[in-house]
């Protein structure tokens, strides 16, 4: 985890999707050790904003800058993105899928530990297609942690999880932020992060 100098700066951002403008003139700055809770009505553009922060879609206008250790970075350097639905492919087993993403991110933790960390211990031979909705979200969380990036972009991390799973997410995010990371979390439900400095960004139509 990089030092506390990590910063995400959105300057005068205008976003659109499918030719339809969503947000304009958005300014916000988030630094390491902080969380930004993104909320707003369905279809207002939360997911789109996360995608823009991850560098996966280009804003129509304005600049999105990542900075770490005093120098500019690309999103791929610092950010990991946990999408609403993960990148898993149905043909693989849970173990194959997760260890592939571990391998790709250079994660050295043992597969079993990663699985146990999200409450999926002993399931490495379950095909991904046979995971319940909440189990899939847990796999997504495991991939996010395996990526070992200082910035977490999370889309609806609590959806579909049981109470224990929600507590798990909140604990992981808190730890991550306490270790100097930052998190931008799009969620319709508040993510309880006791003792963490957090702000709420409301997009409203």
């Amino acid at each position: 985890m990089a030092g506390s100098t990590l910063t995400l700066r959105l300057q005068d951002i205008a976003l659109s999707r499918g030719g339809q403008p969503l947000v304009a003139g958005l300014n916000v700055e988030v630094s390491g050790g902080e969380a930004l809770w993104l909320t707003g009505a369905n279809g207002v553009g939360k997911t789109t904003l996360l995608l823009a922060c991850a560098g996966l879609i280009a804003p129509d206008d304005g600049k999105i800058e990542w900075e770490a250790g005093g120098s500019a970075r690309t999103p791929a350097d610092v950010a990991a993105y946990a999408a609403h639905r993960g990148p898993e492919r149905d043909g693989l087993t849970l173990g194959e899928e997760l260890s592939f993403w571990q391998r790709v991110s250079g994660d050295t933790a043992a597969l079993d530990d990663r699985l146990a960390g999200v409450g999926l211990a002993g399931r490495e031979n379950t095909p991904v297609a046979g995971l319940s909705a909440g189990q899939r979200r847990r796999l997504g969380l495991a991939c996010l942690m395996a990526a070992a990036k200082p910035a977490w972009l999370m889309d609806e991390p609590l959806a579909g999880l049981d109470a224990e799973g929600r507590a798990l997410v909140e604990r992981c995010v808190s730890e991550h932020i306490r270790a100097g990371g930052l998190a931008v979390i799009a969620s319709h439900h508040p993510v309880a992060l006791p003792g963490i400095s957090a702000r709420k960004l409301v997009l409203s139509a």
């Binding site: 659109s16 030719g19 403008p21 969503l22 809770w37 702000r199 960004l201 409301v202 409203s204």
Partner: protein, 244 residues
């Protein structure tokens, strides 16, 4: 925003007088060329059907030239992301494809008259047919991809790799032993044509070139106008930040 549109603004001023000039001179050259083609004598080998040549050969040339233009504009658009370049490339596509189709149709008519068959699996014919497919594919990408920026990049990549077909067309007559006429006019060491055939051919070639340029000007004008007309509707969402 302003700097991005400064250039198109200058272009619009240029196009407003250049387009009519090109259009009128294309018309004049075309009329002259058609008159010359009928005034020229029949050929010893091909007879009266030699007049197809005045349509066929310049059409083939301008089809290749238009594609090369697309490829160059695409390179510019790809490397410098210049918005005018991809508009230019895009507006060359339709006239280029039309020229390709024209050369295919006239060529196969000529083939029927001269060789007794409309179609032959000959290198040149096949490669021009392929060129038509490439044009169609290029236009389809613009049609299908909604996101304009992405469409520009994908179309540019397509145009650039498709360009390898141009030398294949050009040299197909040398590489394959085919039925098609070897280069007579268009290569330096070639025998050349007698002036009474050359004159209408060259006028027609000029006319086609002007025609292409006119089409491109009109196409670019329309595109730029459409882009300015499509004023972005106001964004729907505003953001507020609160501490929690």
């Amino acid at each position: 925003m302003l700097t991005r549109f400064a250039n198109p603004q200058r272009f619009i001023r240029l196009a407003s007088w250049l387009a009519p000039v090109l259009g009128i001179s294309a018309g004049v050259a075309l009329a002259l060329g058609i008159w010359q083609s009928f005034a020229s004598p029949p050929d010893a080998e091909h007879g009266e059907t030699v007049r197809i040549m005045y349509v066929h050969v310049p059409a083939a040339w301008s089809a290749m030239a238009a594609y090369t233009g697309i490829a160059v504009a695409s390179l510019i658009s790809f490397v410098w992301r210049h918005p005018l370049a991809d508009i230019g490339a895009r507006s060359l596509a339709l006239p280029g494809a039309a020229m390709t189709a024209l050369s295919l149709v006239t060529g196969s008519l000529w083939g029927k008259a001269d060789w007794g068959t409309y179609w032959q699996w000959d290198g040149r014919m096949t490669s021009v047919l392929i060129l038509l497919f490439i044009y169609i594919g290029y236009m389809a990408i613009w049609q299908v991809v909604d996101d304009r920026k992405r469409a520009a990049r994908l179309a540019a990549i397509t145009a650039m790799i498709g360009w390898i077909n141009i030398p294949i067309i050009k040299f197909s007559v040398d590489w394959w032993n085919s039925l098609h006429q070897d280069a007579t006019v268009s290569s330096p060491g070639a025998p050349g044509l007698p002036p009474e055939f050359l004159a209408p051919l060259m006028t027609m070639a000029l006319a086609y070139t002007l025609l292409l340029a006119w089409f491109v000007m009109r196409g670019m004008q329309a595109e730029v106008a459409a882009m300015r007309r499509a004023r972005r509707p106001a964004p729907v969402a505003t953001a507020t930040i609160e501490a929690i």
